[in-house]
């Protein structure tokens, strides 16, 4: 099935990391009970936050849309269970900033009553745009980590035919096993979802790529493909190497093609989706259920019973960890995502969102606090491991000097922030942090520049306008003077333009005065009955005496 004939390729660099997957990969997915309170953030991914469509006090059903997509890069948000909206307010969300943002808080009623199904359909009867719209209405975003709205990826445009749908089951980050378990236990859902995705973009083939440390998942998928006779499907086993699961890296491995710098996978005829996303698509079309739950790996030395749990979106992380036996004494740090690209959370009060693939509660030995950095010794270990083939030490040097033009010369924006460079750095430099800082600075500068450009344009236009008005005035003046001169030549006193002008001004003033006396427009052309009504009203008002304020017109 393709795997033997397919020639695999390599990307530059990469790392063999301690996998640490055994802690959680052995335990089957457990569905967590619906919590008493769901905290559902309006912004759960890249793009704009959704608009609330429910009110506090309103009763909502499981799967009911509670926030509408706002703008293009946005998807709706659904209630993860039935209950009452008790609050719409800022609440701590899982975000690297550690800030709070608007959330809908639902007190669940325990009935888990589902809303009427509007999603399920026979996908073959839908045209691609309706198909995409349903995927959007189901609130489906990339479940691999970044959470980009999936329907956008499915619309590469007419000029970019898609040859390959790539299901990214690499899961290269240490500790995370949610995709592994999903592919093992729900292989059929993944394959069925992939069939729909493949149909949506008319891809010639679908490749499911899996790292060679997950043989059970690969076998489960092969069986599922065989069982449903999916055509042009293949499972490709790729070597375990971090960051193989990077979209661009995996496309290179499987197809040998490089997504152009600043480009999209569709530019090389590929679209890439996570197996979880494929399964979510299947759920929407087969069961009519929007994306309201996901599989989360809960692992690390800081949690008593590591494993994989099926969690409703909006469940507080503390509840999830409590359901996994709670914290051990070793609990030292909490991460959302893996230890290479995930971000640290200051508190477990934040809820699980659509992009929460892993909660890593690490012990002190697993993830010690960062060590004090030393100067860069330019050893170039970072160059050897960079999967984007950048020169991390040169980038660091120029970021350090805040020379942002040079930083862009060294292709900062091709950095995928995988963290390989920092992992091998003998000087313990927080390199990725430097690159993020530089990117943010450059974005800020660009925004400032745009603002300055607009201001300059407006200023220039003002100068132009003032200039034009001045010229026009000068021209009029010239004209008048010319007229004056010619009139003087005629010697006609009655035709004196000054006097004529004064006369005209007087007439204008008179007309204006007259217009002031004109009654308000809405009392023009009144019918007899209306006029009578007004008169009688005025009469009553007068009779009520001076205590009542009179209408301004009457004074």
């Amino acid at each position: 099935m393709g795997n033997k004939t397919r020639q695999l390729h390599r990307f530059h660099g990469g790392l063999h990391l301690p996998e640490n997957k055994a802690q959680s990969s052995g335990s089957p997915i457990r569905a967590l009970p619906t919590p008493k309170r769901l905290t559902i953030p309006l912004a759960q991914h890249i793009g704009t936050a959704a608009d609330v469509v429910v009110k506090v006090g309103e009763h909502v059903l499981k799967g009911q849309m509670i926030a509408r997509a706002h703008g293009y890069v946005s998807v709706p948000i659904h209630a993860s269970s039935s209950g009452t909206v008790v609050e719409i307010a800022d609440h701590l969300i899982p975000h690297p900033s550690g800030l709070s943002a608007a959330c809908i808080i639902i007190e669940t009623d325990g009935n888990d009553t589902a809303v009427a199904d509007t999603l399920s359909a026979d996908y073959t009867q839908l045209d691609p745009s309706e198909l995409r719209n349903r995927i959007r209405q189901a609130g489906i975003v990339g479940l691999g980590g970044a959470g980009f709205p999936s329907f956008i990826k499915l619309n590469p445009g007419p000029n970019r035919p898609i040859a390959t749908l790539l299901i990214n089951g690499a899961e290269c980050e240490p500790y995370i096993t949610c995709d592994d378990r999903l592919m093992r236990e729900r292989a059929q859902a993944v394959v069925d979802g992939a069939v729909i995705l493949k149909y949506a973009v008319s891809a010639a083939e679908c490749v499911i790529a899996i790292e060679d440390n997950k043989p059970e998942a690969a076998q489960a998928l092969r069986d599922a493909i065989e069982q449903c006779h999916a055509t042009d499907f293949s499972v490709v086993v790729v070597p375990t190497l971090y960051p193989t699961g990077g979209e661009k890296q995996l496309i290179k491995i499987v197809t040998g093609r490089e997504v152009p710098s600043q480009g999209l996978p569709a530019d090389v005829g590929v679209i890439c989706h996570n197996p979880g996303t494929a399964a979510a698509v299947h759920h929407a079309f087969a069961l009519g259920e929007p994306l309201i739950s996901r599989i989360v790996t809960v692992t690390g030395a800081g949690v008593r019973e590591p494993g994989n749990v099926d969690v409703r979106v909006g469940t507080p992380m503390a509840d999830v960890i409590a359901a996994c036996g709670g914290y051990t004494d070793a609990a030292h740090r909490l991460l959302m995502g893996g230890p290479m690209m995930g971000f640290a959370l200051g508190s477990d009060a934040a809820p699980v969102i659509k992009t929460t693939n892993c909660l890593l509660v690490a012990g002190r030995e697993e993830l010690p606090l960062p060590q004090a950095p030393l100067p860069c010794i330019r050893c170039g270990a970072c160059v050897d491991v960079c999967p984007a083939n950048l020169l991390p030490q040169q980038l660091y040097w120029h970021v350090h000097a805040k020379d942002f033009d040079k930083v862009q010369d060294y292709s900062l924006f091709d950095c995928i922030e995988c963290g390989c460079c920092a992992y091998v750095c003998p000087s313990h430099l927080p390199l990725v942090q430097y690159y993020r800082f530089a990117k943010t600075e450059i974005w800020n500068q660009e925004r400032e520049r745009e603002k300055a450009d607009i201001a300059r344009q407006r200023h220039e236009y003002r100068i132009f306008r003032l200039d034009r008005e001045k010229n026009e005035r000068a021209a009029r003046l010239k004209q008048k003077q010319a007229a004056l001169k010619s009139n003087k030549g005629n010697g006609d006193a009655d035709q004196d333009p000054k006097k004529a002008a004064i006369q005209a001004a007087l007439e204008r003033a008179k007309a204006k005065k007259a217009s002031v006396n004109i009654p308000p427009k809405n009392t023009d052309n009144l019918t007899e009955a209306q006029q009578q009504a007004i008169t009688s009203a005025d009469e009553r008002r007068r009779n009520r005496g001076p205590a009542i304020a009179t209408r301004p017109e009457d004074t």
Partner: protein
């Protein structure tokens, strides 16, 4: 529950500067032992003096600069500079030679530029070249290696010579020293002798000089260890030794009487020490893969040119310093193609 927040990646870095320097020092061990075997106690005395001076000088300057002394000394870079410098010096040089070289290397070439990571030139080579230019006579005080019939000094005689400049009775300094094979070759060729005549001298061994060929071989072994441990990349040694070999081969092929064989070049002087331990100093070398290859090749080329036509018997140190100057330019013009950018 509350947790501390840091930026990704969260996995702890696997290496550290002290470990890198430590591995290099470890890889120098075969070379040090071999040098001590062939050239006597003077080698070890040099190492002790230079290493002590380097570490002390670094500590003093760090204290003056208000930096963390103990933590910075822990990176072992000053120690390594001292050892590398000492290994370049003649074993019978008076004590103040390693002291001056070390002071210059650490204070001027390293700390005045900002310390570890900021020095544009290889500190050990700056120290060595300063000595070579300022004290040419002292830098020729090489004793004959073990295996050659001559007077060899024991420990106390060596210490007496180095620290008090007192010779054993009825000897002169000239009787105790001997030109290095590179020096002897250069002088003899200058006098119009052919290489066959020169090789007849007892100084020469199988393919290099007596002692020197073994010394270079042990540095090669240490270098291979560093490659295996991924402390250095293959680019610089391959570039340097490859260029040295190729240029030597071309001239050797043109006239075997006037130009020594490529093998002689590879196993003489500081060829192996330079290729694996000195040119690979990351701070002052080029850092891109192609840049490193060219950087190494430049050193090999300069070493050959200076050995063959220059005023000094060996040219590795000058080659390293000249290529240090070229490193930023090399880095700039040898940027690798970034993933996804046009080929």
């Amino acid at each position: 529950m509350q947790f501390p927040v840091f930026s990704s990646p969260h996995l702890p870095a696997q290496s550290n500067v002290a470990r890198v320097m430590g591995e290099v020092l470890l890889a120098l061990l075969p070379g040090i032992l071999c040098a001590a075997w062939f050239f006597g106690w003077g080698v070890l005395v040099n190492i002790i003096i230079a290493a002590t001076t380097c570490v002390a000088a670094e500590a003093v300057v760090l204290a003056m600069r208000g930096r963390a002394v103990r933590a910075t000394l822990g990176d072992r870079s000053a120690l390594l500079t001292g050892v590398l410098l000492a290994l370049c010096l003649p074993p019978l040089a008076p004590w103040w030679i390693p002291v001056i070289g070390s002071l210059f290397a650490i204070v001027i070439a390293k700390q005045l530029y900002g310390g570890l990571g900021y020095n544009p030139f290889n500190p050990a080579m700056i120290g060595y070249v300063v000595l070579l230019i300022s004290y040419p006579r002292e830098l020729t005080l090489w004793n004959p290696p073990t295996g050659i019939e001559a007077q060899h000094l024991n420990l106390s005689q060596t210490l007496a010579l180095i620290f008090t400049n007192s010779l054993p009775a009825e000897t002169t300094i000239d009787a105790l020293t001997m030109p290095t094979p590179l020096d002897a070759t250069k002088t003899a060729l200058g006098l119009g002798q052919t290489l066959n005549e020169i090789k007849a001298s007892p100084l020469f061994g199988h393919y290099g000089g007596v002692g020197w060929e073994w010394l270079n071989l042990s540095y090669l072994i240490g270098g291979l260890y560093l490659l295996m441990r991924r402390i250095i990349s293959w680019h610089i040694p391959a570039g340097m030794l490859g260029a040295l070999f190729l240029v030597a081969l071309v001239f050797y092929a043109s006239d075997t009487d006037a130009f020594p064989s490529p093998l002689f070049h590879l196993f003489s002087g500081a060829a192996m020490l330079g290729a694996f331990f000195i040119a690979t100093d990351p701070v002052s070398a080029s850092t891109t893969p192609r840049g490193r290859l060219l950087y190494g090749a430049g050193i090999g080329l300069f070493a050959y040119v200076i050995r063959t036509w220059g005023g000094y018997p060996d040219g590795v140190a000058f080659g390293v310093l000249l290529m240090n100057m070229a490193a930023p330019t090399l880095d700039y013009y040898t940027k690798p193609r970034v993933f996804g950018q046009p080929k």
